[in-house]
Symmetry: C2
Subunit: 347 residues, 2 copies
C-alpha cells in the first residue's frame, strides 16, 4: 500500500452555486488536465459556469460509475457552504467519496463525518497528509525523476510538469506526474500535499511520492516553493532531497521584481537558481542536471518575448521556453538527449 | 503573547522509579544547565538515581513554590508509566502544570486531561508546537543571533549553544539561549520544537523564537539537524533562514564516517559545511559569519587531540575547540571581536 493520498476516480465535479470562473479554477484545471477522470459536473440551477462536462444529478453520476464527488468550487474564505451540505450528504448516501481541497476540513462537519461512517465512504481532504510517513533515507531508488524548481513561488511549476508529463506520454515514454499540491493531487488522482507535512518528514514524504520504478520510467515531480523564499525554502529543500532528481527544470517569471510577500528579497537570476539547486541536489543524486528553463512570458511585450528567451538560453546554455506558448518539446529533447554520466564518473 | 512554548518554573523534577542514569538524562541535563529552575526531585522509594536536588513530596514542593512537575525520566518506549499516574494526579490536584517530553502525549490520558481541566492546570507536551505559528517573512529583526549548525545530527549543538550562552552571561553580555529541542526547551523554560512544526511554518516558527530585541542582545539558537542529512536538511534550512544568524558555529564529530542512518552519505568537511551554510544563510542575513568550530574529541586519542583541533583551525582560519574539554572562550573571543560589515557593505 503506497504511503500517498489516493483518490477514487472517476469524479463527479461539484460546482454548486459557484458565481464565476475565478472560484472554479480547481474544477476547470481538473477538466483541462484530467478529462478522463471526470464523468460529469453537478451544478445548482443558478450556476452559469460550465466546464463542458455533461450535467448529471448525483444519482445519474453514480449510475454512470462515479466514485467520488470532488468539490471544484473554492469560495472566498475557503469554507464548505451550508447550502452544499444536502448535496454532499446525498452523494455520501449514494456511496461516493467526498474530495475537497478547501481550507476547512470535511472531518470538521459532524453530519458529514457521521454519514461517511454510516455509508462506509471516505472524506478526503487533499490538504491533509497521509499517516505514517517515513523519515527520509537518502538511498538511491531505481527509475528516473525530474523535478520543477523555481526562482520564486507561483511561477508555473505545476503547469510545466503537467505539460512535460503529457508530452513524454505522447512520445511513448513511460512516466507519471507526481503531485505535491492540492490541485495537482486531484488531477493525478494521488499525491502528497508536501507543504502540510511535519518538517521532520518532508524528505521522507517526497521519497514515498516517487518510489522505486522501472529503469526507464520517469517520475515528473511537481515542485513547491523555492530555495529563495525565506518562508518556504525548507519545504523546497526537503522535496529536492527526497525526490533525488536526475533532472531539474527551472521555472521563472522575468517580470517579478521581488519574492512574493517579501519586498526586500529580489528574485535570483536563473543561473543562480540552477547553481544552488544543483549544488544541494547532489547530496542525494550526484548525477543531477538542469535540462531547461520554463519562463512565464504572458506579461512580456510580444516584441520582447523571443529576445528574452534567447537571452536566457544563451546565459544558461539550456533550452528556454514559455511552456504555454511554445510547448515543452525543446526541454524534452534536452532531457532525453542528455547523456547521463557513467557509473564511474559519480563521486 | 509570544508564539513559543512557555513553561512555568520552578520545577519539581519527577524521577519516579527510573532504574538507571541512562533513562534519567532529561532530569540530569536540566539540573546541570538550569539548577535555578529546579526546586526539588521526587523519587519513588526504590529509586537510586540522585540528581543532587532535595527530595520532596508533591505537597512539600508545592508549598516551596514549585509551579510544574517535570517528567525527567524517559523509559524504553517513551511512554508514561501506569504507576506514575497517581503521582501526576496528585500534582495536578496540587495545582502544578505537568511537563513531558515523552513520545506519548499527556493529552492522550483521559484521567490526566480531565483532572487538568478540573484543576485549571496545563498539560505541556514539549514535542507539540504552539498553535497559530506565522509564515516566515524574511524581514530583518533587531538584535543579534548566533546559530549552531552541524556536519551531521547529534554532534553537540545543544551543548555548544548552552556553553556559549552561559559564557556570554559570565562576560556580562545580554543574551538568551533559544531552545529548539525538547530538553533545551525544558532547560530554557521556553522554546520551539522545530522539527515537529508543519514544514510551511518552519521558518516562521524560527522567526518567532528569536524576535526583535535590543541592538546589543544576542540570541544563542540551538541548532537542529544538518544541511547534509538527507532526512532533515529542510528543517535545518528553515531554522537557518528564520534565525537569520549574524554568526554560526559549526559542530563536528571527526570520527563519524557517515551521516547517522545513511551509510552511503559521507560526513562533509568542516569547510564545506561552513561554505554551504553561509551561502544559504545570506538569503536572510548577508552579514552572516562563521565564528568557530566545536569539535567532539571525546573518542579521539589524547595524543591526537591537539593536532586535530590545530589542523581544523588552520584549514578554516577559525578557532576550533572541544567545547566540553576546552570551553568556548576562543569562540566567544572571535564572536565579540568580529567586526560586522558596515551598512554600505551589505549587498
Amino acid at each position: 500500500m503506497p504511503v500517498t493520498l489516493q483518490l477514487s476516480a472517476p469524479y463527479l465535479i461539484f460546482l454548486g452555486d459557484v458565481p464565476s470562473a475565478v472560484y472554479a479554477k480547481t474544477a476547470l484545471g481538473i477538466v483541462q488536465w484530467a478529462p478522463e477522470k471526470c464523468i460529469a459536473q453537478h451544478r445548482f440551477p443558478e450556476c452559469e459556469i460550465d466546464t463542458g462536462l455533461a450535467d448529471m444529478s448525483i444519482a445519474e453520476a453514480t449510475a454512470a460509475g462515479a466514485k467520488s464527488l470532488l468539490i471544484g468550487s473554492a469560495p472566498v474564505g475557503g469554507a464548505i457552504q451550508v447550502n452544499w451540505i444536502p448535496s454532499l450528504l446525498e452523494a455520501i448516501a449514494a456511496g461516493l467519496d467526498i474530495v475537497s481541497g478547501l481550507h476547512t476540513k470535511l472531518e470538521d462537519y459532524p453530519e458529514l463525518r457521521e454519514a461517511a461512517e454510516r455509508h462506509n465512504v471516505r472524506l478526503v481532504d487533499v490538504r491533509v497528509p497521509p499517516q505514517n510517513l517515513p523519515i527520509g533515507s537518502g538511498e538511491k531508488r531505481s527509475g528516473k525523476r525530474l523535478l520543477a524548481v523555481g526562482t520564486d513561488c507561483s511561477v508555473g511549476k505545476k503547469y510545466t510538469t503537467l505539460a512535460i508529463s503529457r508530452a513524454l506520454e505522447a512520445r511513448g515514454v513511460n512516466c507519471d506526474f507526481r503531485a505535491t499540491g492540492q490541485t495537482g493531487i486531484m488531477i493525478a488522482g494521488s499525491g502528497m500535499p508536501i507543504d502540510a507535512v511535519v518538517c521532520d518528514f518532508t524528505a521522507g514524504a517526497a521519497e514515498s511520492l516517487s518510489p522505486n520504478n522501472d529503469p526507464d520510467h520517469w517520475d515528473i515531480v511537481e515542485g513547491q516553493g523555492s530555495l529563495f523564499t525565506p518562508a518556504y525554502a525548507g519545504v523546497s529543500l526537503g522535496l529536492l532531497h527526497g525526490s533525488q532528481p536526475d533532472a531539474i527544470v527551472v521555472c521563472h517569471d522575468p517580470l517579478r521584481e521581488h519574492i512574493v510577500g517579501c519586498p526586500n528579497h529580489p528574485v535570483p537570476s536563473v543561473q543562480t537558481c540552477i547553481d544552488t539547486n544543483l549544488l544541494l541536489a547532489r547530496l542525494t543524486n550526484p548525477a543531477v542536471r538542469c535540462v531547461g528553463v520554463s519562463v512565464n512570458t504572458s506579461a512580456v511585450a510580444p516584441e520582447d518575448r523571443r529576445g528574452l528567451l534567447d537571452s536566457i538560453a544563451a546565459q544558461t546554455g539550456l533550452p528556454a521556453v514559455d511552456s504555454i506558448i511554445d510547448g515543452v518539446d525543446k526541454i524534452i529533447d534536452q532531457l532525453l538527449q542528455t547523456q547521463l554520466p557513467k557509473q564511474g564518473e559519480l563521486a
